[in-house]
């Protein structure tokens, strides 16, 4: 495996994994936050609604009480009058005192304000109806409690506003209640709360103060605002459970994502994917093994052999990648890559020397439809080379018994290509089968050439193969020629051409060109 590609792929995989994890966590966090905010909104909204209704009811009730007292016909400060006030006070826990006044003198009353009267210096609201109200402040303080006072006509009521706010569900929140824009009550009483008009409605996060601020408004009869604040810590603590559940889900999602990436990466690192990439990157090149005339030793051409050299210099053997190509439907691309290499490397040489031809190996994929034929024609036309410059080699096994392949072969030959059957003798073809194809050359497989002179059974087969070729009128090329003895034997059998290490190993284009220049006349 090439180091760089592998590293790149792994690095990419790691990056994508991390990115995915980050994105998932961000999404999870965002959703959690939204949910927490929504829960908070619902809670404080509900709270405000309850408080608002209760406050409104209390204020309206008080006003009605005062009107009722004023309208009473009982002589003022008589036992009956006192009884009337007392009944109203006792039945309402938030009422601390009810008084009967004339101008600025409290004549009589009930409740906890007997000793000394409250006469605050400045009223907060005086209404057209004659209702007058003093909000809780230092000037209404009695016994440490700041009371809320309301007066209409000759009666007034003192109210403890702390009764309005629930202590229970507050938990670690601090909350305040505003009526007509003036603060009526808060829990705890001295809580430092922002005024409603300075807070956006709903739930917001105050980063600087590290707290969550909620504000809700009720505007039915009287304007009522509720503002609640909570330290961020306790806000999160409350939502910790859903946070944990969310985190668990996120983790599971992350694991799934990671395994997905892993599997994808492994697939990418497979050889077929690499080959695909290599084809796209033009890493598939060709080397050329000279084909030599046995008699004269002159080079008459070469077989183009696919070579895969990775960018880091590592070579992948064709024995490895050709089968992979065929397995994954890449054989066609490989053939085309080699063709392009031939035309690029040797185009000039082939134009200059029409006697030289290059053998291109075809796969069974190439014989399946018109595609290859068309592209071959186009490529040669572009390179301005005659079809005779390229010979087509087809392995015996690839000689599929189909009409399409026979037709294509016929067409190749019609254009001017010579067609050779490669690795002959290793398949199961009979003479008659072979005769059904129009061929020009037969290449004797290396194994038979090796057997020459050894006395093995295969050496006899070689003779028959040569006979077969002759009877079909095919030229013979011996593959894998390594010794002079083999050359001698082959010549005696009438084999005209050969290729092999005796003559040359496969050469890079430059070396092959040099060889041709050197040996040609």
């Amino acid at each position: 495996m090439g180091m760089r590609r592998k590293d790149k792929i792994l690095a990419a995989a790691a990056l994508v994994t991390l990115g995915g994890v980050a994105a998932l966590l961000a999404a999870a966090s965002w959703m959690l936050w939204r949910e927490s905010i929504a829960a908070e909104q619902a809670y404080v909204g509900g709270l405000a609604s309850r408080l608002g209704k209760r406050t409104e009811a209390m204020l309206l009730d008080t006003r009605d009480l005062l009107a009722q007292f004023n309208a009473s016909t009982e002589p003022r400060c008589s036992p009956a009058h006192l009884k009337l006030m007392q009944a109203a006070a006792v039945s309402r826990p938030h009422i601390r005192a009810i008084g009967h006044w004339r101008a600025a003198e409290r004549l009589c009353g009930v409740g906890f304000l007997q000793a000394g009267e409250l006469k605050p210096a400045k009223a907060d609201r005086i209404y057209e109806s004659g209702l007058i109200a003093w909000w809780p402040s230092a000037q209404t303080e009695v016994g440490g409690v700041q009371l809320f006072l309301m007066r209409l006509g000759e009666h007034d009521v003192a109210i403890d506003p702390r009764q309005l706010l629930d202590l229970g569900p507050m938990q670690r929140r601090q909350a305040g209640l505003w009526v007509e824009g003036l603060r009526l009550a808060a829990v705890p009483w001295e809580a430092d709360l922002p005024a409603p008009e300075s807070v956006v409605a709903g739930v917001t996060l105050d980063q600087a103060g590290e707290r969550v601020i909620s504000r809700f408004t009720r505007n039915a009869v009287i304007p009522i605002d509720v503002v609640a604040i909570e330290p961020i810590g306790s806000f999160w603590a409350r939502h910790l459970r859903s946070l944990s559940v969310g985190a668990a889900f996120a983790l599971a999602a992350v694991l799934a994502w990671t395994s997905l990436i892993w599997r994808y990466s492994r697939r990418q690192l497979s050889l077929s994917a690499q080959l695909r990439a290599a084809l796209a990157a033009g890493e598939i090149q060709a080397q050329y093994q000279p084909v030599v005339e046995l008699g004269s030793g002159a080079c008459v051409g070469a077989e183009a052999l696919a070579r895969w050299v990775r960018e880091d210099g590592e070579r992948v053997s064709p024995d490895v990648f050709i089968p992979v190509a065929e397995q994954h439907g890449l054989a066609h691309e490989v053939t085309l890559a080699v063709l392009r290499a031939i035309l690029r490397d040797l185009g000039e040489l082939l134009s200059a020397r029409p006697g030289i031809s290059i053998n291109l190996n075809l796969s069974h994929e190439d014989l399946r439809d018109e595609r290859f034929a068309q592209r071959l024609a186009d490529a040669l036309r572009e390179a301005r080379l005659p079809c005779g410059a390229i010979k087509l080699e087809i392995t015996e096994r690839a000689l599929v018994n189909s009409d399409t392949s026979r037709r294509l072969i016929r067409e190749f030959r019609a254009r001017g290509h010579q067609v050779a059957v490669d690795d002959f003798g290793t398949g199961y073809s009979s003479l008659s089968y072979l005769a059904t194809f129009e061929l020009d050359v037969l290449k004797i497989d290396k194994s038979f050439v090796d057997a020459i002179g050894t006395g093995a059974a295969t050496s006899q087969v070689a003779v028959h193969v040569i006979e077969m070729a002759k009877s079909l009128g095919l030229d013979c090329v011996a593959e894998g020629v390594q010794t002079a003895e083999q050359v001698e034997w082959l010549r005696q059998q009438g084999v005209r051409y050969g290729q092999g290490y005796l003559f040359s190993r496969p050469l890079p284009a430059a070396d092959f060109i040099r060889l041709v220049e050197a040996t040609a006349g």
Binding site: W101, R102, A103, A104, E105, K119, P120, A121, K122, A123, I126, Y127, E128, S129, G130, L131, I132, R151, L152, G153, E154
Partner: protein
């Protein structure tokens, strides 16, 4: 029935010319406590009743008022302690708003109240007689004033510019007196009332138009708390 100035002058001249007849009486406000229609002046007008409240000249008003406030602060047991003045005024304002229900123009200026009988409730030209609607509004005011005893009431009378200044001066005083009498009759102590006539010297509208003159014929009241210092 409106009294015509030219007729009256002739009558006066005629009467003074004829010594056999008793002295003609100047126009006096009708002593009519019940809300009945104003009656025509009798041929022999009775002598004008003594003024109900102290009448101050415009120039002496401020000094006179301070003096009266001091007197009341000493003599009235209900005079307000200084630290309770705010409360007293707030509650009084609420009460005035409740009882008057907009019939009189009410405005609070710091530690005092200014009330005005609006032009609909005002006086006819040359008349110092209260209309019924005015009485109704004033009796509501009287109710509040009876409750809020430590209050000094200054009543200012004004006229439009028809007629000589001297007559207007007297008429404005008479108008103020009419209000003072009404309040006094409904239970407001006389010591709490001060009367000043400004004649036509303080118009609030253009005397050239009838509506303007209507507005100028008016009475204003100033309510101030009696504070014990």
């Amino acid at each position: 029935m409106r009294i015509q100035w030219p007729v009256l002058i002739l009558l006066t001249v005629a009467l003074t010319a004829c010594k056999t007849l008793p002295d003609p009486a100047p126009v006096a406000p009708e002593p009519a406590p019940q809300p009945s229609a104003p009656t025509a002046p009798p041929p022999s007008a009775p002598p004008a009743p003594a003024p109900v409240a102290t009448v101050l000249a415009a120039t002496q008003y401020e000094a006179g008022k301070q003096q009266r406030l001091a007197t009341l602060a000493r003599s009235q047991p209900e005079a307000i302690a200084a630290d309770q003045a705010g409360y007293y005024l707030d509650v009084q304002q609420a009460r005035l708003q409740e009882k008057l229900a907009g019939r009189l123009g009410l405005s609070r200026e710091g530690e005092r109240f200014v009330l005005r009988l609006p032009s609909q409730l005002g006086f006819a030209t040359g008349s110092a007689q209260l209309r019924d609607e005015a009485r109704s509004a004033l009796s509501a005011l009287a109710e509040v004033l009876r409750e809020f005893r430590p209050t000094l009431i200054s009543i200012f009378g004004h006229t439009d510019d028809t007629g000589p200044a001297e007559l207007n001066q007297r008429l404005s005083e008479q108008r103020a007196q009419a209000v003072a009498k009404f309040l006094s009759d409904t239970g407001v102590a006389r010591e709490r009332l001060l009367v000043v006539g400004y004649g036509a010297s303080q118009p609030v509208a253009d005397n050239a138009t009838p509506e303007g003159r209507d507005q100028n014929r008016r009475v204003e009241l100033l309510l101030e708390p009696v504070v014990r210092r």
